[in-house]
Structures are given as structure tokens and as C-alpha cells.
């Protein structure tokens, strides 16, 4: 160890090294055999000072780490004297210190330090095997880490696995690998970038937090959605490593939430949930996009998005449940005109959007997705719509045992509140002998919840077979269930009671004991007529040994001792004999029985009671000694206890409320369904409460988005191209469509040649030149003179209709210009009879001078035939009609340039609202005239459109 020894020994090592190097040329160095032989030949010379060598060697070893871990290519290793030297010294060290007991890890070290790829790979595989078994392989860290830059993909992957596992323990050494990852983050291959970020962010070393932050920021703007997905995952890793980075991370989350890729959506929502679940404002602008993307998101992402949106919706929309007394403030999206009076509940279109877009996911193969949609409907949908999830939930019961367990738990909670939902599927909850015990118990729970007057006989018959089950715990649970049915449904109480009494003669003791306990509870609810049952139980008493059951019978005796005046004292006599051998719970009840009998029938039982109280006084259990003392003071009059004694009878023989037999799932609904907290019935770490519906919906315009892009699930490059080409839907966005109309105007006027104009609704010129947000052109529906004060105007908001895609959205402004309020404004008969109209909800009351905007949907079936219907108030009916201009029957449609020119070169592509037929308008310019061509399969529509357009162009 001493420093003086250093030079000579150092020279020895160099000697050895040089000698070995000559050998090394011929024999591949780290192969086991050659290494051993070299070790052996060295041994005689070095043995004396082996410990010192160990010390010295470890010095250069440490300092040379830098060399290896900067990612030097292993191929040039041989030429690197330093590295070879270090590796060698390492070998020497191990050979010298432990020449005999060479552990397997030493083998691995040798293999890892070889220059043969296959050996390294083999070694890494064994190392991973060690990690998998949970064995410690941390001492190999230096040997492993230098392979981090290997060119072999599998080797590299295994090294990554190792690094992630041990980096925390070996922080200093782990730092040496960081530069490799930093370099890899700039690789052209997206998978290399992604995996570098994955590993880098998994190294839980706080020094590299700034590096991670930088990497995440860069990756969140990466071209590849896959890399951005990894970035979203990395956000959570960094947050758990250093929560101080929260603010910066939220910025990244905000950016990634705007991402349009289906790949990223799920992961970023997970990050959002973990880092800043309270920043609900980040969701507003992305709400509609998330809803629209949902079907295309990968299944795991769907689960987290749905549960996040459930929470979001509960804060943003008003309750759809209380239709009558809940005041909902209607707010027109377009005009932001606050109505002061209460209108009937109208569901926010965004609320509806969420419900509509999640519904198809009930057909998902992923049980977690189905469950999350089910809970969304349970928590958000109007009551009458919740039923659609039933069938899907019942389907999940055919899945694995564990899935059944969770789904049954949720159904149990649901079935308490809504029997009707699951009653038609009652048979699906019948227990099979092969079910696991907890599945059986849950099914029993549900069957009990579903029991009503109509089906109780079927259920009881089913229960009867369960009582005979060989699984006695389950049989006992069934008896409890019968007890619950008996209390819930008064018609069958007697039947159940008699059935239970029959079970008292069952051969199995658990069954008998459970029956006794349940009968006790039932008798308490209606004790009057059942003294015969109590007698029967007294008779059985000798044969029952389960203490709970014995205690129950004793309690019954005491409580109703006046009904069985002859039997009760006899039971007490028997108990006095066996008192010392009983369980505590039985002893306590014996003391109780004695006390009660003493009060009612002291002549017969005075001595017995005193005897029992004396036994109790010297009992081993302090509970019993306490109880005995208490009872003695209470019932036996003496000078010390004057006051209480008088009330003893009232205290002990007070009428007691019957116990409620109720479901264990009664209060489970305080947790959001489908959550872990619901499953374990206690609040899990990180559980977020579902808020109550707001009384007044917050401003819904926060969800309006500047530029609405078609929901695209294409890869990044494509969709960004498209967003340039596609102009927005005119109604929804103000700035976007303003731009498009101002652009389109000159085109039409000057007839400059543009190959592809932004799409807009082709319509009469007046409408085109007007700014297309807000009321485009308002038409009169009903004049206030003819409408006896009620006037109505309508316009086409040019949004896709929310109710049905084939409908055209129409907004109607109803105003009251009379001096009295109008009541019950609704839509009456319509013609043609088959006309498909989505009516607005009846307006209960419209005050004088007030107006209200309502939206409705009309399916014009792609014809300009007017839709006639009656607008009714409480007193009157007015026939009105809405006649659409042909342009209103078209929707813009996105089409690539190639497709369009393939179809027909031109300037506008659209689809008819109802049937979705393609309509293409093209404009070709000649010297002085223009050629306007319209291509569509609907010839009537084409000619009308042509006429309208010609008029419009002539005006311009």
C-alpha cells in the first residue's frame, strides 16, 4: 500500500503488460483459457505484493473511465494503449486478489471487455438475466457502460436496459454515458432519437436535469410524432425527478397538447394528469380536437383521455339530470347574448360531441376502453342514455377473471342506483360453480341489488341452489343476501324467514350459524309474531357451536324474554353450566341475558344471575370483568348506585332500532367508477375527485378555436401541408374565414387565375361578400304582425349539424314584440310528413321584448324544397317554411390538389350535406369570358347552383 513501493511495482506491471501484449497478438486476449494461463504464469512473480498492486491498479482504472465512456469505438480499442492497459490491470487485479474464488461476475467482466462482439453480447444477455432475477449486477457497471456506443443494436439495447436499472446507484459513472445520448438525439433516424431520449430521461440523476430539460424541449418540436410521444413520457420522468421544473414542463405540455398526432395525444394527457391536472384551462382549446381524434388514438391513450375528459366535462357543462328545476343559462355561441330568463335545459353542443364520439368505443376489444366509456356515460350522460352501456359491460363479463372482478364491482355500484339498467341481464349474473369466490360474492351482491317484487321468486330459487354450494363461505354470503332481500321486499319477508328457519336444520355448521345471525336481524325488524322461531332456535342452541350464532341466540332470548318466559331462564341455566368454557362474545351475551332476565323475572333467575355475575367477576378477560361490574351496579340495588338503578329497565330493555341490511357498495359511488379508488373503496394516492356540476356553465366560447382543422390522423408532414390548403369552416372561426372570404373575393371579381382557392360555401354574392361569421344572411320566418307578437328569423350558421350529420344546421331567433309573455314555444306538425327535423326544446316562457336564439337541424335531403312546419305557442299555431338556397346544402370538403385536378380542375370542392355527394365547381378563364363548370351527380342541384353562381358573378 505504501507509496515507496509504487515505482518498482509499476514497472512490474508495465513489464507484464508488454509481455502480455506480445502474447496478445497471437491469442485473443480475454478468451477464458488464455487469460487464465497468463494469470498463472504471472502469479509466482507478483504474489508477494499482490495487495499493493491492487491498490495501484485501481488508480489508473478510475481515471481512464473517461476514455471509454466518451463513446470511443470499440473497434479501435486494440490500438488504445491506455484502455488496454486499464483493462489488463483490471484482470491482473482480479487474478491477484482472488485467484481461486473467481465469481461468475468476473467471467462476465472479462467477456464484456473482450473485443469480440459475440462475447460481449453473450455477456450482456447473462447480465440482463441477472437483472431479471433481481440479482445485483451493479459491480459490472464500468464494464458495461463503455459498450453504450456499440454499433450492434441488440448489444446497445441491452446496455440501455442495464443503464436504466443501475444509473441511480452509480451516478458518477452514469454521467459518462450522457454524451453518447446527447449525440444520439441528433441522429437522423427517429427511433434512435426516441430511444436515446427514453434512456436519457430514465437515468434518475439530478445533475442532468438541465440536460434532460433541453432534450425534452427539443424533442417536443421534433418532426417525428414518435419522438414527441417519447418526449411526453419524459416529462413525467423529469417531473418525478425534480418537481421544481413544473413551470417549464407545463409549457412543454401546453405545446404538446396542441399536437395533432394521434400517437402523441394519449401520452401528453398522461403527462398533464401527472404534472398539472388542475390546469384545466390548457384543455379548453384542445377539447374539440381531442374529442374528434379519440377514435383514432391508440387504445391506451383512449382510456386516459376519456377519463380526463370526464373530469373536464364535469367542470364545464351544466347537469343534464335535473331537467325541471335546474336553471340553465342559454348562451348563444355566435352572438354571446346572455339571456336572463331560465330556459329549459339544452345540452351544450360540446357536451354532446363528447358523448357522441365516445359511443363507438364501446365496441372496442380493449376492456379498459369499454369501461372508461361506460363510466363517462354514467357520470355525464342524461339518465335515459346511460342504458346503452349495459350491453357492453355485460359483454366484458366473458373476459378474464380479473376483468370480471372489476366490472362486477362497478356494476354492483351502478345497480344500486339504477336497477332497471341491468335487470334484463339478470341471468348473466347467475353464479357458476367454477367461478372464483370473490366473483361469486360480487354476483350475489348484484343479484340482491336487482331483486324486486317481480323477480324475487326467481332470485330466491337461484339462491336456494347457492346455499347448497360446497363453497361454504359462499353459502354463508348467500344467506346474508336472502336476509337483505327479506328486509328490502316486504312481500317475501315471511317466505325468506321460513326458508332460513329450514336452513337451521342444515348439516353444515357455517350455514346454520349464518342463518341464526340473519334470522336474528330479521326478527328484530318485526318481532311480534315469531316466538315460535325463537323457541325453535332455543332448541337448536345445544347443537350450535359457532360463537357468533350462540351469541345471537342469547341476545334474542334476552331481548324477547317476555315472549318465551319459560325457555329463557332454562337457557340461562344451561349457560351458567358452560359459562367458563365459552368464547368472550358468548360470555358477554350471557351476562346481558342474565341482566335482562333479572329485571323481568327476578324470582326465577336471581340466584342464577348472581352466580353468572360472580363467574364474570373473575374472568380472565377484562372486557367481561368490566361488563359484569357495570351490569351489577346497574341492576342490583345497593347504597352506592342509587340513581341509575331506577332506570335499569329502561336502559337495558329499551326498544332497539332494527339493523339495516344494506349493500356493501352503498357508498361506493362517491368514487369515480372504473378507478382504483372505487375498486379498493378508499382514496388511492393521486385520486382526483370528480367535481359536481357547476350551477352555471362557464363561458363556452373558451373552447372556440382560431383555426379549425379537419381531424387528421395522418403523419405530421401531411397534416401540416393540409392545414395550409384547407380553409376553415366558415361558421366556426372568425379570423380564418374572414381571410378566406377576402381572398376569394378578388379572385372572383378580377378573375385572376388561381389554381386552387380556399374553400368556402358558394352562395349568393351577398352572402359571400359579407363577413361570414355571425348571421350571414337573416331570413324572415315569421313576421310579428302575423305571429301575434311572436317574430322569428333564421339564418344558416354553416356549421356541421350537431344532431345528425345529414342535417343542415339552422339558427332561429325568436323574439317577443307583444306586451305579454308567450309560453310554450315549440314546433308542431311538419310537412312533408317524413321531414326529418331536430326540434329545439320547448321554450317555456318568453318575456315581452326578449328574444332567444335556438338551433335546430333540418334534413333537406339535398333538395331546395321548402321545409314547412308549424311554430306553436301555447295559444296559437303559425305555419312557417324554410327554403334553403342551394349553397346551404353544401359542405366544404377537403381534397388534395391531385385528386381535385383528377376529378376536375377548379376552385371549389364540397359535398352535399344529406347524401354526401361530391360537388366540384371549376372556373376556367378565357380572354374575355369565363367558363364555369359544375360537376356533380345531382343534376337538379347543379343547374340551380349554376344559376345562383351566375347571378352572383354578374352582380360582382
Amino acid at each position: 500500500m505504501s507509496v515507496q513501493n509504487f515505482p518498482p511495482i509499476y514497472s512490474t506491471v508495465v513489464e507484464i503488460f508488454q509481455w502480455l501484449k506480445s502474447v496478445y497478438k497471437n491469442i485473443s486476449f480475454p478468451e477464458k483459457g488464455s487469460c487464465l494461463s497468463s494469470g498463472r504464469s504471472l502469479a509466482p512473480r507478483g504474489r508477494r505484493s499482490c495487495s499493493s498492486i491492487g491498490c495501484i491498479v485501481s488508480v489508473p482504472f478510475g481515471s481512464h473511465n473517461n476514455v471509454w465512456s466518451t463513446g470511443r469505438d470499440p473497434a479501435i480499442w486494440e490500438a488504445d494503449t491506455d484502455a488496454v492497459y486499464a483493462a489488463l490491470s483490471h484482470h491482473l487485479w482480479s487474478t491477484f486478489t482472488a485467484p481461486e474464488a473467481k465469481s461468475s461476475n468476473e467471467d462476465l467482466k472479462e467477456m464484456l471487455e473482450s473485443n469480440k462482439e459475440s462475447l460481449k453480447l453473450e455477456a450482456m444477455k447473462r447480465v440482463v438475466g441477472l437483472i431479471a432475477k433481481g440479482k445485483n449486477a451493479s459491480e459490472l457497471f464500468p464494464a458495461v457502460v463503455k459498450n453504450v456506443a456499440s454499433k450492434n443494436i441488440e448489444l446497445k439495447k441491452l446496455v440501455y436496459v442495464y443503464l436504466v436499472r443501475y444509473a441511480e446507484e452509480q451516478q458518477d459513472l452514469a454521467l459518462l454515458s450522457i454524451s453518447t445520448f446527447q449525440r444520439a438525439l441528433k441522429e437522423p433516424n427517429q427511433f434512435i432519437r426516441a430511444s436515446a431520449l427514453r434512456v436519457l430521461s430514465s437515468i434518475r440523476v439530478s445533475i442532468i436535469v438541465p440536460i434532460m430539460m433541453l432534450a425534452i424541449k427539443e424533442a417536443s418540436a421534433d418532426m417525428s410524432p414518435y419522438v414527441r410521444k417519447t418526449a411526453a413520457h419524459a416529462i413525467q420522468k423529469l417531473y418525478s425527478l425534480d418537481p421544481d421544473q413544473k413551470e417549464q414542463l407545463i409549457e412543454v405540455i401546453e405545446k404538446l397538447l396542441k399536437d395533432k398526432s394521434t400517437l402523441v395525444a394519449g401520452s401528453v394527457v398522461v403527462a398533464f394528469d401527472e404534472v398539472c391536472p388542475d390546469r384545466i384551462d390548457l384543455i379548453h382549446k384542445n377539447y374539440r380536437k381531442l374529442c374528434n381524434l379519440l377514435v383514432d388514438v391508440e387504445e391506451w391513450g383512449q382510456v386516459v383521455i376519456i377519463s380526463m375528459l370526464t373530469r373536464y366535462a364535469r367542470t364545464q357543462f351544466t347537469s343534464p339530470w335535473k331537467e325541471d328545476n335546474e336553471k340553465a343559462f342559454y348562451e348563444s355561441e355566435e352572438e354571446k347574448k346572455d339571456q336572463t330568463e331560465a330556459t329549459p335545459y339544452t345540452m351544450d353542443p360540446d357536451h354532446r360531441l363528447l358523448l357522441r364520439n365516445t359511443k363507438p368505443l364501446l365496441q372496442s376489444r380493449n376492456t379498459a376502453v369499454v369501461m372508461s366509456v361506460a363510466q363517462l356515460y354514467w357520470h355525464l350522460a342524461p339518465k335515459h342514455e346511460v342504458n346503452i352501456v349495459t350491453k357492453s359491460l355485460v359483454r366484458l363479463l366473458r373476459s378474464h377473471r380479473e376483468v370480471q372482478y372489476i366490472v362486477l364491482q362497478n356494476i354492483a355500484t351502478m345497480s344500486i342506483q339504477r336497477k332497471g339498467m341491468f335487470e334484463p341481464f339478470m341471468k348473466s349474473f347467475y353464479v357458476r360453480s367454477t367461478d372464483a369466490t370473490h366473483i361469486k360474492t360480487l354476483k350475489l351482491e348484484i343479484l340482491t341489488n336487482l331483486a324486486n317484487e317481480a323477480n324475487i321468486s326467481t332470485i330466491l330459487r337461484e339462491f336456494q341452489t347457492y346455499v347448497k354450494s360446497q363453497d361454504k363461505a359462499f353459502a354463508a354470503a348467500t344467506i346474508q343476501a336472502i336476509g337483505r332481500c327479506a328486509t328490502d321486499i316486504s312481500e317475501v319477508t315471511d317466505t325468506c324467514l321460513s326458508g332460513l328457519v329450514l336452513l337451521l336444520s342444515n348439516r353444515d355448521e357455517t350455514v346454520v350459524a349464518e342463518s341464526v345471525v340473519v334470522i336474528k336481524k330479521l326478527l328484530q325488524t318485526q318481532p311480534t309474531q315469531h316466538s315460535d322461531i325463537i323457541k325453535h332456535m332455543a332448541k337448536l342452541f345445544d347443537n350450535i357451536s359457532v360463537s357468533m350464532a350462540r351469541a345471537s341466540i342469547l341476545w334474542l332470548m334476552g331481548e324477547y324474554c317476555e315472549r318465551v318466559p319459560k325457555i329463557a331462564p332454562d337457557v340461562l341455566r344451561k349457560m351458567a353450566k358452560t359459562f367458563t368454557a365459552e368464547e368472550d362474545i358468548v360470555k358477554l351475551q350471557t351476562v346481558n341475558l342474565a341482566a335482562k332476565l333479572y329485571l323481568t323475572n327476578s324470582k326465577q333467575t336471581k340466584l342464577l344471575t348472581q352466580y353468572i355475575l360472580n363467574l364474570g367477576k373473575y374472568d380472565q378477560s377484562y372486557d367481561i370483568r368490566d361488563r359484569t361490574r357495570f351490569v351489577r351496579q346497574l341492576i342490583v340495588p345497593n347504597e352506592k348506585s342509587g340513581a341509575l338503578n331506577k332506570y335499569a329497565r329502561r336502559i337495558l330493555l329499551a326498544p332497539k332500532p332494527a339493523p339495516m341490511l344494506e349493500s356493501a357498495f352503498k357508498d361506493r359511488d362517491r368514487f369515480q367508477l372504473g378507478t382504483l379508488s372505487h375498486s379498493i373503496n378508499s382514496k388511492a394516492t393521486g385520486y382526483q375527485e370528480l367535481s359536481d356540476w357547476p350551477a352555471v356553465a362557464p363561458d363556452q366560447s373558451v373552447r372556440n378555436v382560431e383555426v379549425v382543422e379537419p381531424s387528421s390522423s395522418e403523419s405530421e408532414e401531411q397534416s401540416s401541408d393540409e392545414s395550409d390548403e384547407t380553409s376553415s369552416d366558415s361558421g366556426k372561426s372568425s379570423s380564418g374565414s374572414e381571410k378566406s372570404s377576402s381572398e376569394s373575393e378578388p379572385e372572383q371579381k378580377k378573375k385572376t387565375k388561381t389554381k386552387k382557392a380556399p374553400q368556402k360555401k358558394s352562395k349568393a354574392a351577398a352572402a359571400v361578400t359579407a363577413p361570414s361569421f355571425g348571421p350571414v344572411k337573416t331570413h324572415e320566418l315569421l313576421h310579428h304582425m302575423t305571429g301575434k307578437g311572436l317574430s322569428a328569423k333564421y339564418h344558416f350558421p354553416r356549421q356541421p349539424c350537431l344532431y345528425q350529420p345529414s342535417m343542415v344546421a339552422v339558427q332561429v331567433i325568436l323574439a317577443n314584440s307583444s306586451d305579454h309573455s308567450l309560453e310554450k314555444i315549440h314546433i308542431g306538425d311538419r310537412s312533408p310528413a317524413g321531414l326529418n327535423i331536430h326540434c329545439f326544446n320547448t321554450i317555456e316562457r318568453l318575456e315581452p321584448e326578449a328574444s332567444v336564439t335556438v338551433s335546430m337541424g333540418i334534413d333537406f335531403s339535398d333538395s331546395t324544397q321548402a321545409a314547412n312546419f308549424q311554430l306553436c305557442t301555447k295559444e296559437d299555431q303559425f305555419s312557417v317554411s324554410i327554403q334553403p338556397v342551394v349553397g346551404e346544402l353544401l359542405m366544404p370538403s377537403t381534397m388534395s390538389e391531385q385528386d381535385f385536378s383528377k376529378e376536375q380542375g377548379g376552385s371549389f370542392a364540397g359535398r352535399t350535406v344529406s347524401s354526401g355527394a361530391l360537388v366540384l365547381v371549376s372556373l376556367e378563364l378565357k380572354e374575355s369570358s369565363a367558363l364555369l363548370t359544375i360537376n356533380t351527380e345531382k343534376s337538379v342541384m347543379a343547374s340551380m347552383l349554376l344559376r345562383d353562381l351566375k347571378q352572383a358573378l354578374a352582380l360582382a
Binding site: S118, A132, K133, G134, I153, E154, K157, V161, R165, F191, R198, Y226, H233, Q236, K237, S240, T262, S267, V270, V295, W300, P360, Q363, R365, A368, M371, K391, R398, H400, R401, E402, V403, Y405, I406, K427, Y430, R432, S433, T434, T437, H438, R461, F463, Q464, T465, Q470, D494, T495, S498, G499, V501, K535, H536, G674, L676, I680, T685, G686, Q688, S713
Partner: protein, 440 residues
Amino acid sequence: MIHSLFLINHSGDIFLEKHWKSVISHSVCDYFFEAKEKAVDPEDVPPVLQTPHHYLITVHRGKLFFLSVVQTEVPPLFVIEFLHRVADTFQDYFGECSESVIKDNVVTVYELLEEMLDNGFPLATESNVLKELIRPPTILRSVVNTLTGSSNVGDTLPTGQLSTIPWRRADVKYTNNEAYFDVIEEIDAILDKSGTTVFAEIQGVIEASVRLTGMPDLTLSFMNPRLLDDVSFHPCVRFKRWESERTLSFIPPDGNFTLMNYHVSSQNPVAIPVYVKQSISFFESGPCGRLDITIGPKQTMGKTVEALMVKIHMPKAVLSANLTATQGNYTYDLPNKVLVWDIGKLNPQKLPNLKGILSLQAGAPKPEDNPSLNIDLRIQQVAISGLKVSRLEMFGEKYKPFKGVKYVTKAGKFQFKCAALYEPFLLSFWTILFFYFTTF
């Protein structure tokens, strides 16, 4: 989300562990072992357990427990579904999901787990994508690997993750283009002693094996889609088309996959393919009982019933069975008290019969409930619900593929109850009352 995974065998050894976040000591599994001790059957261990700092979510597959540790709120089904997906992937890769196979392929398993989750959130679970990242082992490849030192990790990086159809890889090429569909139906039924159906329903699944070049777009339509009551799909199926036209339109994954699961609407009566005449009785005197079972065909749609098997969970008191079978052979598994009678093909001319004596443990009380019979069977070339595929069309590619549909019917949970000591619960009330008035 998912923090760690432990694989545990029936004897309670943790033979594999994987952590996606920081390392959690395997002592956390002690809570699980405690629960396992309490449970009689491994199936009885509760899937969700709460410990002071963690939550344990377990699934039981093929004699293995997949135990995952989570630390914060997460939908439990999310974890359960994922764990089953892991087990499915192992099955897919190694042919079975057992301890020995996992131990033999521990490196591949580890690589798979690494790819499937990132920071506890699923990353790649589609088998097609995984197979590109990590090639499944084959005998040939393992020989080649040992000789050449090459690896089973893909050299080229996958393309699948980036397209809108993550389940299909690009540039698929086959010389023989084929698309085969198996319509497999299972009958779940409970029948009482008289043979009356207490409960019966049909579950079906369509398994596909599609090997087609390029990006084919398939449409599968049914003759009678109205039969289908409730369905669930592989993500590739377009929901909208199903809702409007009742046809399955999809770009298929490459290889084998489950296209859809369905449930046949309960309005249609379910055909029960066999009937059972049985009597099992235990004598009041003497420790023995008698058993006599005959099985015959009922509604088989003119096809032969194959792979017929009867399984009876005997009461605990039954020690041995001394029986004679006219067809097939029987075994009695004493520790589990299961009598299995393997019959094979059902011959309508000569009905199989199993008859003989059951001996009971001396002194044990007479079993109060007669055991029920679980039937297993298979009928080839018929879907018992009558569901028929009408045609399969392919768009997007020019070649003509080989197409085929196969139908099979199996017994699912098919149970004959033999409640011999059936005493109507509801009628007995007056009898009991009478009994009380006479005794007291």
C-alpha cells in the same frame, strides 16, 4: 402508471422482475403471498390488493401470476388488460406462457417488456410492431444465431409506428396471398335436471389469418348480420361502416389476429347439441353411491359431435370411482375430486354410457348436493347460431387472394345441473309452520 412487474410461479418464487421507474424491493410481494396463503385456490386471490404504500394488481395466467405494482390512481382494468396483453404476447412469441419458457427466453422477454412500456405507459403493444422490433425465436434462428453470433433484434427499424395503421407494417410481400377466417362459436348454457334450459347464450369470435401483399382493404359481409347482438372489434375495423351497413371493413394486420367478438342476440333460441340422462345418488346407508350417465345427440345440425368430454366436480367425500364406460375412458383425479370422462366422437347409433359405484369416505355425511356435469364438445363445419359469411371483397390491390371461411362450434361453460334434493323454497312455508305448531 405501472411501476414494476413481478412474475411469480405457483410455489411462490419470484423468477422475473422488471422496473419501469425506480426499483421497488420485491418484499412488496409479501402482501400478495399473504393473500395467496389465505385463498384456497390460486384463482381466489383478489386481483387488486392494497398495501401501505403500493397497490398490487395481479392476473393469473397459465399457472403464473403477473403481479404489477402501481403507486398512484390508475384504472385497474387498464393494468389488467395490459398484463393480459403481455401474457398474450409471450404466448404469441414462444407458443406458450409458462415459467420454463420465460426463463429460457429471458432476454427476449426483457426486451419485449422494455418496448411495451415506457415510464409505465404502454408504448408498443401491437404484436406486428413488436415482431419487427424483436424477432420471435425459432429453432432455425437460434441455431443460426449461435453460429454466426447475430442477434434476434431487428436490424432495420420498424415503420409501423408512424402510419395511421399501426397494426400493419409496410411492404408486406407474399407469393401466396391468402385470407382465412375461422368463425368459432361457444355455447354457454346451464340446463337443469330435466334438460330444460335455464340459461343459454352463444358467444362467437372470428379469428383471421391474413397473409396478403401490400395494403389490402377488405370487406367482410354476413348473410344474417341481424343475429349479432353485441360486438367488439379489433382496432382495424371501421366503426362507422359497421353502424351504417353492418359490414366489416378493415385494413387487416399481417398474420393472425382476432377480428371480432360477438354475442348472438338472446331472442333466438339456442340449439343444444346434446342431451344427458343421468342419475347420481348417494345411499343413506353405507359409504357409497351410484352413478349412471348417458349422452345422446339433440340438435346437431346434421353434423357429428366430436371431442366430447364430461367433467364432474365430485363432493369432497368421494374417495374413488369404480365405473365402466361403453366408450372412451375415465379418470378420477383424487386430490381435486374431478372425474373426467373422455368420450371422443358421439355415435348416435350407440350412445355412450358410464355406470358404476362411487365409494365415499367412511363416516362422512352424505353429500347434500349432487355435482353438476360440465360438458365439452366440438362440432365442425357449423356455427350453431346459423351465422354465415356471405362474401369477402378486397380493394386496393390487384391480385386475387385465396379466401376461406371455416365454422366450428364448441361448448363454452356448458353445465348440466343435477339438483336431486330439490325442495321448492317457496312452497315449504306452510309445511314448516305446520311443523312448528305440532312440535311446540
